[in-house]
């Protein structure tokens, strides 16, 4: 006189109920059916336990560290990044330039100087600092990687914001250590890396005081040193090395990706 007399609960409703997707009236009727039918109640309880167990078993995957090559895959290829995109918007921009005319030309020049001036200086400084310290066989850094924690704490304190040394082992570069470098107004942190062939890279970080808050990668070559630099939030980054542009860009992507991942995790 129990389950047999009541209309069977639709299979789809059972799953929707288990997944919390059933509207309130459906829930009420399924709960009534569960009271009449212990088998149904047992089945639903076991499906719920199954859901919980699946989550518990699969959630640890989310906490695994993201491999560098996947971070690098979240960016466009080098070729696409450097190819200019001429579009309708650009065409309209050109037309607008003509309309705006020479009268405002001085303003345009002003803005151009503002945009390009500061970053170029940073790239130049970064290249010089790299050339100076990377060439120093015995004392390229002030604090060696063995004391990475102390190094990071010290640089964080001196720069006034949290800095960290990205892990570049995935692309063959191990952290050598770091130092403080004189910057514009605020000091610059320098992390030195080295690969098996003793090639060195340096990543320099500083607080960006002025300039647009943009994030595009820019490239410069100064005295034979390749530099990729970018601005993220209020921080300026420059990655310098005596390697070719494509290789350096790949590593710059890894650096950027790791920093972005940390930020994404921090904002969660």
């Amino acid at each position: 006189m129990t389950a047999a007399n009541s209309p069977p609960v639709p299979e789809a409703d059972i799953h929707a109920y288990v997944d919390g997707r059933l509207p309130a009236e459906g829930c009420a009727s399924i709960e009534a059916a569960m009271l009449r039918n212990p088998d149904l109640a047992a089945r639903i309880a076991s499906l719920r336990a199954q859901n919980a167990a699946l989550r518990e078993a699969l959630d640890p995957v989310l906490d695994e560290e993201i491999p560098a090559h996947l971070l690098a895959a979240a960016v466009p290829s080098a070729a696409r990044a450097t190819r200019p995109r001429w579009s309708l918007a650009v065409a309209l921009g050109l037309a607008a330039t003509l309309v705006v005319g020479v009268g405002l030309g001085w303003l345009l020049r002003d803005v151009l100087i503002e945009r390009t001036g500061t970053p170029t200086t940073f790239a130049r400084q970064a290249a010089f600092a790299h050339a100076l310290y990377a060439a120093d066989a015995n004392r390229p850094v002030e604090i060696w990687a063995a004391e990475e924690k102390r190094l990071v704490n010290w640089l964080t304190k001196r720069l006034g914001f949290a800095v960290r040394a990205p892990d570049l082992n995935g692309v063959g570069y191990a952290l050598v250590g770091g130092r403080l470098v004189a910057g514009n107004e605020k000091p610059t942190a320098l992390f030195m890396y080295e690969n098996a062939e003793k090639n060195r890279l340096s990543l320099q970080v500083r607080r960006q005081t002025a300039g647009p808050p943009e994030t595009a990668f820019r490239y410069a070559e100064e005295n034979g040193v390749s530099v990729f630099y970018w601005i993220d939030d209020a921080s300026g980054y420059a990655l310098s090395g005596n390697i070719d542009r494509a290789q350096l860009l790949k590593i710059a992507h890894v650096v950027y990706g790791q920093l972005a991942a940390v930020e994404a995790a921090a904002s969660k």
Binding site: E11, A12, H15, A16, D19, R21, S46, L47, Q50, N51, A53, L54, R55, E56, A57, L58, D59, P60, V61, L62, E64, I66, P67, H69, L70, L71, A73, A74, V75, P76, R80, A81, T82, P84, R85, A89, V90, L92, G93, A96, T97, V100, L108, D110, V111, R115, P212, E214, T215, A216, F217, R218, L249, H253, Y256, G257, A260, E263, A264, K268
Partner: protein, 196 residues
């Protein structure tokens, strides 16, 4: 007035500078980076193997970047990327089938290389490992529906959209997946009891 002209000019310069396009080429989208862990989990459930899974994630991210203009801002990026991943996986399977016509994927008796780690210190969590082993015996179709519904907790309509199948098919796959998994677990449990 001058400030307004200046900002107008600034955006004009922005348009005219070749290295700047609207989507800032050269940088991973933070949202894309944030989606990677879930993509890895989905891929792990599909392929059952960590390195193959990451290859699939890599292909998915590349594809996602190519098709980024098709993503409607404001819509769920996770679901959009899941759709891409599902399609990439199905296409890979299809080309594998073409290359090795004698390999049957339907008859896949569960993946021996099923690598989904449960945290190592959870020794008392043997049943979770067993659950994953049982899950590996389900078809990939069933595994992905189970993941999307039970673990990712997506709506059935969203799942249907991701997999390009009717909602009814989602429900029947989900039902089969759950019942098979439950039977496998209880079978195993009763064997254990007999052995004791």
């Amino acid at each position: 007035m001058a400030g307004r002209a200046r900002s107008l000019l600034r955006s004009l310069v922005h348009l005219l500078t070749p290295s700047d396009s609207n989507d800032a080429p050269g940088l991973p989208h933070p949202d894309l980076v944030a989606a990677i862990p879930r993509l890895r989990r989905y891929a792990r459930v599909l392929t059952g193997e960590a390195s193959r899974a990451d290859d699939l994630v890599q292909d998915t991210l590349a594809r996602g970047w190519e098709k980024r203009r098709m993503w409607r801002t404001g819509s769920d990026l996770r679901a959009w990327l899941f759709t891409i991943m599902h399609n990439v996986y199905v296409n890979q399977l299809a080309s594998m089938r073409r290359e090795a016509a004698n390999v049957s994927i339907d008859a896949d008796p569960g993946n021996p290389a099923w690598q989904i780690p449960v945290r190592a210190n959870q020794i008392d969590r043997v049943e979770l490992l067993e659950l994953l082993q049982h899950m590996g015996r389900l078809s990939a179709d069933q595994r992905e529906v189970l993941l999307l519904a039970a673990v990712e907790e997506l709506r059935y309509e969203e799942i249907a959209g991701i997999l390009s199948i009717p909602v009814g098919t989602v429900m029947s796959r989900l039902s089969r997946a759950r019942n098979t998994l439950r039977n496998l677990v209880t079978e195993r449990a009763s064997t254990l009891r007999v052995v004791k």
